[in-house]
């Protein structure tokens, strides 16, 4: 856990004092990623760098896991905080192994232990130790280098990590990959992370909480979903963008908007299919499943109305399906691609578990926009599981 208490930084410049961070108060719960977000010069980086004293604070306190860091020795404090910077900053005179093992070495681990740790971390960041341990940083691509940067920060297993635009210098394709890998890692490691970014999409993707800074002040500190649904002022609203509702798609999983679905089997007659379509109020079609409840196709309303026979003789193949853990952005994209308003949802064995519809998505996203009756993500989750 990181708690910041009235943290302030005033820079003395030739043109008079400049307040870079103005009485910042915030708390990052244990195991969460907090993204500090804002335009350049808003104080986000200053705030981050005051935590490991790369920038000395003017006033205020910082607590890590409940302990006031004010009296701590700077070098010791830093060795207990993982630090990743945009410029990566691998030491070019050291091999990858030496780079990763540097903090454990400084902490006095014996050579066998820190070498084993370096190997373990390389595997964790998805690089083959037999290839990379003895290489030098310049022999690696930018994306590989930043993976090592992350591994180095994790080496001594610090409870807290500070990341200053860690993926900012990596090309967009690799950035997505590294972000995904990092999130996967974080699910296991549960570090308390402060992460500076200027990219709202990155923030929405990575953050458990987002802190929006402007002019040295913390203007809003919320979960990504609440931030996108309820920006506190015009600045935050314009910063998160006109398409903020679309950005929320990424935050919602199919399981949260999944609905029960009625189906037919190949042996049912088209008459039964039509009945069920009418009953459920389906506009275009009904899903057909096999005996193991796996979706195999759909029967369209128009065919059911005009034709006699069995469903198994008059169905269309499925265009796509989704999984409960997919996010809605992917679902929306599939719907647009295949010109459809609903998709079946299956588990890992291909067994039908429900459906996701455009109306359901719209309804879910719309619900949290009504300020009078705000529905938090947690509440909605409860409703669904109930």
């Amino acid at each position: 856990m990181i708690r910041i208490d009235n943290l302030t930084k005033i820079f003395e410049t030739p043109n008079g004092p400049v307040t870079a961070a103005d009485h910042i108060n915030m708390e990052v719960p244990e195991g969460e990623i907090c993204v500090l977000l804002g335009p350049s010069g808003c104080g986000k980086t200053t705030t981050l760098k005051m935590i490991n004293r790369i920038i000395p604070s003017t006033s205020g306190k910082i607590f890590i896991n409940g302990e006031d860091t004010t009296g701590m020795n700077t070098v010791e404090l830093r060795r207990n905080i993982g630090y990743v910077i945009q410029q990566i900053g691998l030491f070019p005179n050291m091999t990858i192994e030496e780079n990763i093992a540097i903090v454990p070495k400084l902490l006095g681990w014996d050579a066998n232990r820190y070498k084993a740790r370096a190997k373990e971390l390389l595997e964790l960041v998805a690089l083959d130790p037999s290839i990379f341990l003895k290489r030098y940083p310049r022999e690696l691509s930018g994306g590989q280098q930043q993976r090592i940067g992350v591994a180095r920060a994790l080496a001594a297993d610090p409870p807290v990590m500070l990341m200053d635009e860690p993926f900012g210098a990596i090309d967009p394709i690799n950035r997505e990959v590294i972000q995904d890998e990092f999130l996967k890692m974080q699910q296991e490691l549960r570090k308390t992370i402060m992460f500076v970014s200027h990219d709202i999409d990155e923030a929405v993707k990575m953050a458990d909480r987002i802190a929006i800074f402007r002019g040295g002040r913390l203007v809003q500190y919320d979960t990504p979903d609440d931030l996108l649904a309820h920006p506190v002022d015009d600045f935050v609203e314009s910063f998160v963008g006109d398409d903020r509702a679309l950005k929320r798609l990424r935050l919602v999983q199919v399981s949260q908007v999944m609905e029960p679905v009625t189906t037919v089997s190949p042996g049912d007659s088209l008459k039964v299919a039509l009945e069920r379509i009418e009953q459920q109020g389906y506009s275009h079609a009904i899903l057909m499943v096999n005996e193991r409840n796996q979706p195999i196709g759909y029967v369209s309303r128009s065919v059911a109305q005009t034709t006699n026979g069995l469903c198994g003789e008059h169905y269309f193949g499925l265009k796509a399906d989704t999984r409960p853990e997919d996010d809605l952005r992917k679902v929306a994209s599939l719907m647009f691609n295949h010109d459809t308003t609903w998709l079946p949802c299956t588990d890992e064995h291909g067994v039908l578990v429900g459906q996701v519809t455009q109306r359901g998505i719209t309804h879910y996203l719309g619900a949290t926009y009504h300020r009078d009756a705000p529905v938090s993500l947690a509440q909605t989750l409860q409703q669904i599981s109930a």
Binding site: R78, G89, L90, P92, T95, I102, V103, Y136, L162
Partner: protein
């Protein structure tokens, strides 16, 4: 042809003088490295001090060597070493300061700020930063300074023969006083070849000392 005869006929003498010459320069530049590198590192901490130190070192290098020897004769006479080995070594030591201090200062100052921040951020103290990051990265440039000092001072040391320090300058000074072009030219050629060989030898050492990860 005369010169060739002289060279082959006096190999022993030339070898002895060359060794003398090398040892003079080696001792002087060695001492200069031991003093200049720490000074160069120290002055990275304060820009104003750095300017003063570099300015002084630049002034020293503009003093003609013959004048420097002249200045040292009365000073060092008080301890009985007005001429000979000591003033020669001191002169070369002083001349070597500028290239060595300046290159060290520049190299340490030019270490990528991101690396410095990373080193601080992961919890290296200032001594560890120097030892593990800054000095290894600065080695090629520091060594370039040492090479400059050595090559420059192989020439300066030839003049030290006039104050009785020995070395290949002996051949040159004798050549002049005895109007013997063979000795003069032989001395000059030997000094030049020595400078070239020393430069290559130091280049080789520089490459060996440069960390593998940054060598070109």
């Amino acid at each position: 042809m005369e010169i060739l005869d002289f060279l082959t006929g006096n190999l022993d003498l030339i070898l002895k003088l060359t060794i003398e010459h090398i040892s003079l320069v080696a001792v002087a530049v060695g001492l200069a490295t031991i003093t200049g590198v720490p000074i160069g590192i120290a002055i990275t901490q304060n820009e104003r001090v750095a300017r003063v130190v570099l300015y002084l070192a630049s002034i020293i290098i503009t003093i003609p060597s013959i004048a420097l020897f002249g200045i040292m004769i009365p000073l060092l006479s008080t301890i009985g070493h007005g001429i000979g080995y000591l003033p020669a070594v001191i002169a070369v030591l002083l001349y070597s300061q500028l290239p060595i201090i300046r290159n060290t200062y520049t190299a340490i100052n030019n270490v990528n700020p991101a690396l410095r921040e990373a080193a601080r951020g992961i919890g290296m103290n200032p001594v560890q930063r120097l030892r593990m990051v800054e000095i290894p990265l600065a080695i090629p440039v520091i060594m370039a300074g040492v090479r400059t000092a050595v090559v420059m001072n192989i020439g300066v040391m030839a003049i030290a023969a006039y104050i009785g320090a020995g070395g290949l300058g002996v051949l040159i000074s004798r050549g002049i006083t005895q109007s013997d072009p063979r000795q003069l030219v032989a001395g000059a050629i030997a000094v030049s070849i020595l400078a070239v060989i020393a430069d290559y030898a130091l280049l080789w050492i520089q490459k060996r000392l440069t960390p593998k990860g940054i060598s070109a």
